[in-house]
Symmetry: C2
Subunit: 372 residues, 2 copies
Amino acid sequence: MRSEKFLTDNPLEIAELGEFGLIHHLTNDIETKNSETLKGVGDDCAILQYPEGRQVLVTTDLLMEGVHFDLQYTPLKHLGYKSAMVNLSDIYAMNGRPRQMTVSLAVSKRFSVEDLETFYEGLRLACDAHGCDIVGGDTTSSLTGLAISITCIGDAAPDKVVYRSGARDTDLICVSGDLGAAYMGLQLLEREKAIYNSQLENEKLRMKNASEGAKAVEEFQPDFSGREYLLERQLKPEARRDIIQALAEAGIVPTAMIDISDGLSSELMHICQQSHTGCRIFEERLPIDYQTAVMAEELNMNVTTCALNGGEDYELLFTVPLTQHDRVSALPDVKIIGHITRPELGLQLVCRDGVEMALKAQGWNPLKVESS
Amino acid sequence: MRSEKFLTDNPLEIAELGEFGLIHHLTNDIETKNSETLKGVGDDCAILQYPEGRQVLVTTDLLMEGVHFDLQYTPLKHLGYKSAMVNLSDIYAMNGRPRQMTVSLAVSKRFSVEDLETFYEGLRLACDAHGCDIVGGDTTSSLTGLAISITCIGDAAPDKVVYRSGARDTDLICVSGDLGAAYMGLQLLEREKAIYNSQLENEKLRMKNASEGAKAVEEFQPDFSGREYLLERQLKPEARRDIIQALAEAGIVPTAMIDISDGLSSELMHICQQSHTGCRIFEERLPIDYQTAVMAEELNMNVTTCALNGGEDYELLFTVPLTQHDRVSALPDVKIIGHITRPELGLQLVCRDGVEMALKAQGWNPLKVESS
């Protein structure tokens, strides 16, 4: 690990290509595959034409360096992949199918053309895997950090679109995959970064020579053994297309759905608020991976809190009518964690010891002050 | 003029609202008006449904503080307005109609809720004037400057969409409005900023007290008299819906079209490159406002160079078949500046003295190194 190790040495300067040259360089071999994509990169707009009766879904995300990602431990290929996944996940959360994507980047001088190629590699890998065309974007400069803005467009049949607002009393609350691992991965990366940076400082002091100091710790090997799953969840999340497909095959249309980006509690609150319901979920039913539990213990953190508020899981949280219990139970990698209640019962977590606690949204919020 | 005068004093802290509170605060009274907008802000995605046969246009722009705008002289309301216009203009450049917009902002701590309200005021003013629904977005934090990412969606009948690539030999080259004024407005603002900043420095040195110094020059009045048009072109550009409507009423579908954001030369090159043609334009026909000419002289700049390469005009550049000469001549605020030629003739500017010069794209390019 070294400072911004994932930026290329001896780079091809972006300035040598200029804006249009760079866009051409990054996008000229992109082929659009979906029949609705009439025109991709290369004009003032992309042009789409959806068949009659399809509803069009639009989602957008803005990711800022230092807030949403740290380039000291995020390889650019992973960052491209994850930036796409974050948006793909929002389309799945409506029970839709991602179809097109626009990608805007603002880069500072320390980025080379190869760096952006690497970012695009990850981005394209994600888009190819999810059948999504890259149809446009903007590449410009930034005085400071990297900014990434992605808009994803998807489609769905009108009777299949799932809102946050459709949950009803007695509906089952289901979640895919497991929770809290991405957050534990982040803690792990932050810990190793702190160790690395302090070793670097010590070496600098000892050698009174920054470059020798840097060299001396370049061999620094962070301790990630046995934690690969946590890292993968943080650096290479997967939008759950498989769950959307499994639901469709099982003939299940959820009554409400959302993807878990800011933590289970926060997303459950969105569903309950917009559906005008309460909910009861059970601590013992929360899906938690073994590595997540071990890491939480090591860091002296409550693993349930991590699962509830960790965020960045990109799992799907959805509700189905009670009558679909057997069907939903048969789905792979989906767990029933509780049920929807009347609104006056509030949002409750039933702990392992039977005590009920009110759920709070303490998930990650980039704009909120920390209340200690 | 004072440093970042347009940021509010005694602000309501963004942190008090948090991300969801802030989004709700900024968007809760937005009503969507277009029939294709089924669902706006408030779920994982916006939902649209276009009637059969309409083509959907998508464009996106990322604007970064310090690169695309300077908050020392750009009021936030104007910034919101202009951010929208930049995108609306791209939809018109395809001969389309803007319909929906998503808006993502990354803001640093120095912004208050009121600041964002002011930004949104300008944004909504632009969207209302152009019949465009605000349907979603993302509001997050930035460690440094303000980042604005907007995606605009529009529609058009398939036989009305105009690409950059349709220009043919002998087509007339037309441009709306006038050129170079926005660039002159920028020069003017930069000049007054430099004067203000140096006065501030002098006062600080004299008084050895920054706050008194600041106070002493707070009354500083930049000299903008007689230059109002230049300022308006820079700070409050108008996307040319009127031209699109006038073309439609006159029964003209341009063969190629683009909006002038990076300068006439650069945009003309895009059209010729993608249409595989050359062009000849005439210096004496370039539409230049009186204020632009006066300001260029004052700054000892060549006004033709400003018109060719200034950028940010957001006028429409389009080509029509020679047979439509009379119809296009009758359009208000449109000027024929030259014609399309065979590709081997290159891109030529015929100067006032009859000399022909090859056109170069020297327009604004945020990623290109300055070649002096």
